[in-house]
Subunit: 352 residues, 2 copies
DNA sequence: TTGTAGGCGTTATCAT
DNA sequence: ATGATAACGCCTACAA
């Protein structure tokens, strides 16, 4: 029989034990000074002895402050990747509004720096206590983070990595490792000594760093095999997206011996019908559970998806700040989520 | 700019708006009667209008009750599968003890019904407010659930399914579907028209239902292919475990054409060195992130593991009951966790 | 340096 | 049927 919790003492209890008033105990607990050495020692000893845990409920009620958080998010209407974030935000909002945390959300256009800057100004004008945001544009995000710091606004970022520690927390994934995972999956499907292709497909330049990290991880994995495997890279730039089929045909003409594809963005579904019909099926690993990708998973165009769990990222960002304000919890400055492997049989559970 | 939270009203606010005292408002909110029709109507209308949300912090402080929960768990020392549950329990304990929830844990021997019954009696004697337990022994667990219900003890179960709804909640996985996932993985690795084997390896009979469900899912998947695939089953009973190699050799003599294995328990690592060296590598899918399996994953004996996330199951069980008592939250009567696919590159993120 | 007296929002009790 | 009041544990202001 293994007990994990113990009796709870109140400040009044401690005051009684020490033969001193509650006020003095409180001063010791909060290190406000103005306490005699004797009293300080006695109380400190008791606190240690009983491992005093303040009643957060009472503390919170007393404070009775309401905190405002802003979430700054790429518009899900412009890129469905972000849609699940709303669920996560709503869940956290429901959970913490009872504790006085109010959450507002603002969208920016993921293809417009101007839109981002404009929303940032709007958010700053509202003087929230905390901000959770996606630092899609590195320089601008850095500037915004500086503004927040100067205004004593606590920060959490997710999805994209901004900067070491500071006042800001990061929630996301190890992109390099996710590239390795993609490599492992294709290696498992195909065996060794193969020619593999990394395909970068995206409409926006902000993903460049993401894509590079993923590619590095992928190459890292295949390089480690030392079995004669080869990796080539093909980029489908912005304007070519509607001609994905054409572009891929050219690519396959130049590399007829490629036997597996790694698509570094959520645009894997574009390969539907763009792969040479003459070949047997070519295994493809992609990213993100957007509906088009799930359809492609079911139809067999895509074999595996890597899930970045945007819902959970947003949920955690909001939760961390909420718990920080409501319960004085420490904010972890780095939280890497598991890298989920998805196929046509287990995707459903991740849609929630 | 998308707002998700609204202003908060107190009972005093409402009383003032209605020109009535707080006491009457409280009576309406809690349906205690002894309120005139006129007052009732007026207050109800206001409550609806402002969508009144009681301040849970204040309510909780007022109640100021401490709740006791018991977790009844198979002894991790007897089966390492359960070890991560302790982390989950500790995490939930840390989180909720500030809200007056005390959590105790008791272990039973997973191979001894007597031990289970004895611990059950011990738990009942302590008259906790809630119990989270693993119903490993169906009949005995049913009896215990009945005892709890009679003693007004709120229940949550995890890992094994006990019974429809009632007062008890279930947290676990869709085992049938996890069998399908194993099928899909092997199918992805091997292609169609193959002979596959389901291997049941276990020391204890309590897993029988689990293993059956998983096998059904697996056969269901392969049956759906309609491509000439075949599935055979081999059971390594309790006493043969040390002779896994021998038993598997016999099996392969009878079925030399088997090209993939699905091990329905956490004992997949026993196949290390038990597979015919003459063959090329035979793909194996197993269950659970215990250290031996992870080693086997790294060495290449196992290709994929399915993660049942015992840590999260225990965490959620405790959390649900804690939130029920501390915040009057409803307990979901069924929570199916995602079925995580693990290989040698992504296991690390699931260990913590 | 120390003690005391409210008050946060909700609820239970006791008068009215 | 209704209203006033005290109490939960913590914290702050003010008095001693």
């Amino acid at each position: 029989m293994y007990a994990m919790s113990k009796k709870k003492y109140t400040i009044a209890d401690i005051a009684a034990m020490a033969g001193i008033s509650k006020g003095t105990v409180d001063r010791v607990i909060h290190k406000r000074g103005k306490v005699s050495k004797k009293a300080h020692e006695k109380i400190t000893r008791i606190l240690k002895e009983i491992d005093y845990q303040p009643n957060l409920v009472a503390r919170n009620l007393k404070k009775n402050k309401t905190y405002t958080l802003y979430v700054l998010l790429p518009d899900p209407a412009k890129d469905p990747y972000w849609a699940p974030c709303l669920e996560g935000i709503t869940a956290a909002s429901d959970e913490f509004q009872a504790f006085g945390v109010m959450i507002d959300t603002a969208f920016f256009d993921p293809s417009s720096i101007k839109s981002f800057n404009s929303k940032c100004r709007q958010v700053l004008k509202n003087k929230p206590d905390g901000v959770v945001f996606v630092p899609l544009f590195y320089q601008e995000a850095l500037a915004f983070a500086g503004d927040c710091e100067r205004n004593d606004i606590t920060l959490a970022t997710f999805n994209s990595y901004l900067q070491e520690g500071q006042a800001s927390s990061f929630i996301g994934q190890d992109l390099h490792q996710s590239g390795r995972i993609a490599g492992k999956l294709l290696h498992q499907l195909l065996g060794g000594d193969r020619k593999m292709a990394v395909i970068h497909v995206d409409e926006a330049f902000q993903n460049a760093i993401h894509m590079q990290e993923k590619e590095k991880g992928f190459r890292d994995y295949y390089g480690g095999l030392n079995d004669g495997s080869e990796v080539v890279t093909h980029t489908l730039p912005h304007k070519d997206i509607r001609n994905a089929g054409k572009s891929m045909q050219h690519f396959f003409k130049a590399h007829p011996d490629v036997s597996g594809l790694f698509v570094t963005t959520s645009k894997g579904y574009l390969l539907e019908g763009a792969l040479p019909g003459t070949h047997a099926h070519i295994p493809v690993v992609g990213y993100d559970l957007i509906t088009q990708n799930i359809d492609a998973l079911k139809s067999g165009t895509l074999d595996f998806l890597i899930h970045q769990n945007p819902r959970q990222q947003a949920y955690l960002g909001v939760s961390y700040l909420s718990e920080y304000f409501a319960f004085d919890k420490q904010i972890p400055d780095r939280k890497l989520l598991p890298i989920d492997i998805i196929n046509s049989e287990n995707y459903i559970h991740y849609l929630q």
